[in-house]
C-alpha cells in the first residue's frame, strides 16, 4: 500500500516536473524566438542576439506567443493542403501494401512479409515529399518572423534604428518610421 502510494506520488511528481519543463521551454522559446532574425537584421553575435530577442519580447510575451501560434497554424495548414497530393502519390506504394496487409489480417492468415514490403515501398519519393514540406516551411518562417521583428521594434520605438541597420540595398526609397507616440 505504502509502496503503491510512493509509486503514484512519484508518478505525479514526474508529471508535474514534465509540465513545468514544458512551460519553461515554451517561455524561453518565445523569449528567444527572434534571435535568428536579430542576427540577420542587426548583425549581432549569438549571445547578444539572444539578449536582444529577450528585450524585444519583454512585456509582449502573450502577443508574440499568439502571433507565432496563429502563423504556425496557418502556414502548416497551407503547406498541408499544397503537399497532400504529392505525399499521397509518394506514399501510394506504402498504402497499397498496407491495405493488402490489412486485408490478409482480416482473413485470419496475415502475411508477415507484407508489412516489411510496405516499409520498403517508402522510397525516395517520400523523402522528396518531406523535402518539399520542409522547403516551404523554411521559406515562409523568416518572412513572418521579420515582419514580427519590425513590428516589435516599432512598438519599442526602435524601428528607425533597426531599419538603418539593414544593408543599404535592402532599404527602400521611403524611410521606415516607428509608431508615433501614444500608438501601440
Amino acid at each position: 500500500m505504502a509502496l503503491a502510494a510512493t509509486g503514484s506520488g512519484g508518478a505525479f511528481a514526474i508529471v508535474l516536473m514534465f509540465l513545468a519543463a514544458m512551460c519553461l521551454g515554451a517561455f524561453l522559446f518565445i523569449r528567444w524566438a527572434l534571435a535568428f532574425t536579430v542576427i540577420a537584421c542587426e548583425d549581432h553575435g549569438v549571445l547578444e542576439s539572444f539578449k536582444r530577442s529577450w528585450g524585444l519580447v519583454s512585456n509582449r510575451w502573450w502577443r508574440v506567443f499568439g502571433i507565432l501560434l496563429l502563423m504556425g497554424l496557418l502556414v502548416n495548414f497551407a503547406i498541408f493542403l499544397l503537399t497532400a497530393p504529392f505525399t499521397f502519390i509518394a506514399m501510394w506504394g506504402f498504402y497499397r501494401e498496407y491495405f493488402s496487409a490489412l486485408s490478409s489480417a482480416g482473413t485470419g492468415q496475415p502475411d508477415p512479409t507484407l508489412m516489411g514490403k510496405a516499409m520498403a515501398s517508402m522510397g525516395p519519393a517520400v523523402g522528396l515529399s518531406m523535402a518539399l514540406n520542409m522547403m516551404l516551411s523554411t521559406l515562409t518562417k523568416p518572412v513572418y518572423m521579420t515582419v514580427l521583428y519590425f513590428d516589435l521594434c516599432a512598438r519599442k520605438k526602435e524601428a528607425d534604428a533597426a531599419y538603418r541597420s539593414l544593408p543599404s540595398e535592402h532599404q527602400g526609397d521611403q524611410p521606415f518610421r516607428s509608431l508615433p507616440e501614444g500608438r501601440e
Binding site: 493542403l81 497530393p85 482480416g106
Partner: protein, 317 residues
C-alpha cells in the same frame, strides 16, 4: 491587374453605390491576399474547431470503448465505434459547418469588403433552365465519379469492410435517418461550402484573375476536403460548381448542383444498404457502361448551360 472585374462588367467595386466598404477595400489592399487569407483563416478555424468538437463528441459517446481491447477483431471493433458515433458526428458536422465555416465567412465579407453581403456573394435569382441544367449535369456526372472512385479503391486494395466503415457516416437505414443524413451531408455543405468557396474566395479572386478563378478555386476545393482518393473527382466537381457560379452570376446553380451530388451519394448508399433494388445490382462493369453514356449527357448539359448563360452582346459591349 487588380483593377479588372470581368465578371461584373469591368467595375472593381465590391459594394453597390451607397453601401459602406469594408476595411480591406478602403485600404486598397490586394484582393488575392484577401481571398488567400480568408480561405486559410476559415480553414484553420473550421478544421481545428471541427476536430476538437468531434473528438469531444466521440469520447463522450464511446467513453473507454474507443480504446478498449479489440477482442472481436479490428474490423468489428471499428464497425461498433462507427455505428456508435455516426449520429454525434453528423450533428457536429452540421454545427461546425455553420459555426466555423459559414459565420466566419460572412463576418469576413462584412468586415473586409461590404455590408451588402448578399450582393457580394451573388445570392440572387437565376433562370429555372440554369438550375435544371446544373442539376442534370451533376446527376449525369455521378456514375462517372463512382467509376473513378472505384478505380482508385481497387488499385489500392482497400479492404471492402474498411470502405463500408468509411461509408457508415453517409449511410441511412430508415426514412427518418435518411432525412437527417440529407440535412447533414447534402443541405449543410451545399450552403456553407458554396458560400465560402464560390461566394467568397472565387468571387474575390474573380475580381483580379477573371475566369482563372474557376480553375484555382476548383483545385482548392478538391484539396480542402483532405481526401486524397477523391482529389480528382472533388476538384472536377469544384470546377463545375465554379463554372456555374461564374457563368450564371448566381450562387444558386452551384448550390443546387452541390446539393444534388451529395444527395445522390446519400440516396445511393441508402438504396444499397436497404437492398431497395432487390436482386438488381449494378456491377462495376455496368457502372462503367452507364458512365460512358452519362459523360456525353453531362457534357451536353454543360454546353446547354453555357448557351443559356451567355449574355447577348450589345453593340456597346
Amino acid at each position: 491587374m487588380e483593377d479588372e472585374d470581368p465578371a461584373s462588367g469591368g467595375s472593381p467595386a465590391a459594394s453597390p453605390p451607397g453601401t459602406p466598404e469594408g476595411t480591406w477595400e478602403r485600404g486598397g489592399r490586394s484582393l488575392n491576399s484577401a481571398a488567400l487569407a480568408g480561405l486559410l483563416g476559415v480553414g484553420v478555424i473550421y478544421f481545428y474547431g471541427q476536430s476538437f468538437v468531434v473528438t469531444i463528441a466521440v469520447l463522450a459517446t464511446t467513453g473507454r470503448e474507443a480504446f478498449a481491447g479489440q477482442t472481436e477483431g479490428l474490423f468489428k471493433h471499428l464497425i461498433t465505434i462507427a455505428e456508435l458515433t455516426k449520429t454525434p458526428i453528423r450533428v457536429c458536422l452540421i454545427v461546425t459547418q455553420f459555426a466555423f465555416m459559414l459565420l466566419p465567412t460572412l463576418w469576413l465579407i462584412r468586415r473586409w469588403h461590404t455590408a451588402d453581403v448578399r450582393s457580394y456573394i451573388r445570392l440572387r435569382r437565376c433562370s429555372p433552365s440554369q438550375l435544371a441544367l446544373a442539376v442534370c449535369a451533376i446527376a449525369f456526372l455521378f456514375p462517372v465519379n463512382i467509376v473513378v472512385s472505384e478505380f482508385f479503391e481497387s488499385r489500392l486494395n482497400i479492404p471492402e469492410k474498411l470502405l463500408r466503415i468509411n461509408e457508415t457516416l453517409f449511410t441511412a437505414s430508415g426514412a427518418g435517418e435518411l432525412a437527417f443524413v440529407i440535412l447533414a451531408i447534402a443541405v449543410t455543405p451545399a450552403i456553407c461550402e458554396e458560400i465560402l468557396f464560390r461566394g467568397y474566395v472565387q468571387r474575390t479572386l474573380e475580381r483580379t484573375i477573371g475566369w482563372k478563378s474557376v480553375v484555382v478555386v476548383g483545385i482548392l476545393f478538391g484539396l480542402y476536403h483532405m481526401q486524397p482518393l477523391g482529389l480528382l473527382t472533388l476538384s472536377g466537381l469544384g470546377l463545375v460548381f465554379g463554372y456555374f457560379y461564374y457563368a450564371s452570376n448566381s450562387l444558386l446553380p452551384g448550390m443546387a448542383a452541390h446539393f444534388t451530388n451529395n444527395l445522390l451519394v446519400v440516396v445511393w448508399l441508402y438504396i444499397v444498404k436497404t437492398d431497395a433494388l432487390g436482386s438488381f445490382h449494378l456491377t462495376t462493369g455496368a457502372f462503367t457502361l452507364l458512365a460512358s453514356i452519362a459523360l456525353p449527357s453531362a457534357a451536353l448539359s454543360l454546353y446547354l448551360f453555357h448557351r443559356v448563360s451567355t449574355k447577348p452582346q450589345t453593340p456597346a459591349g
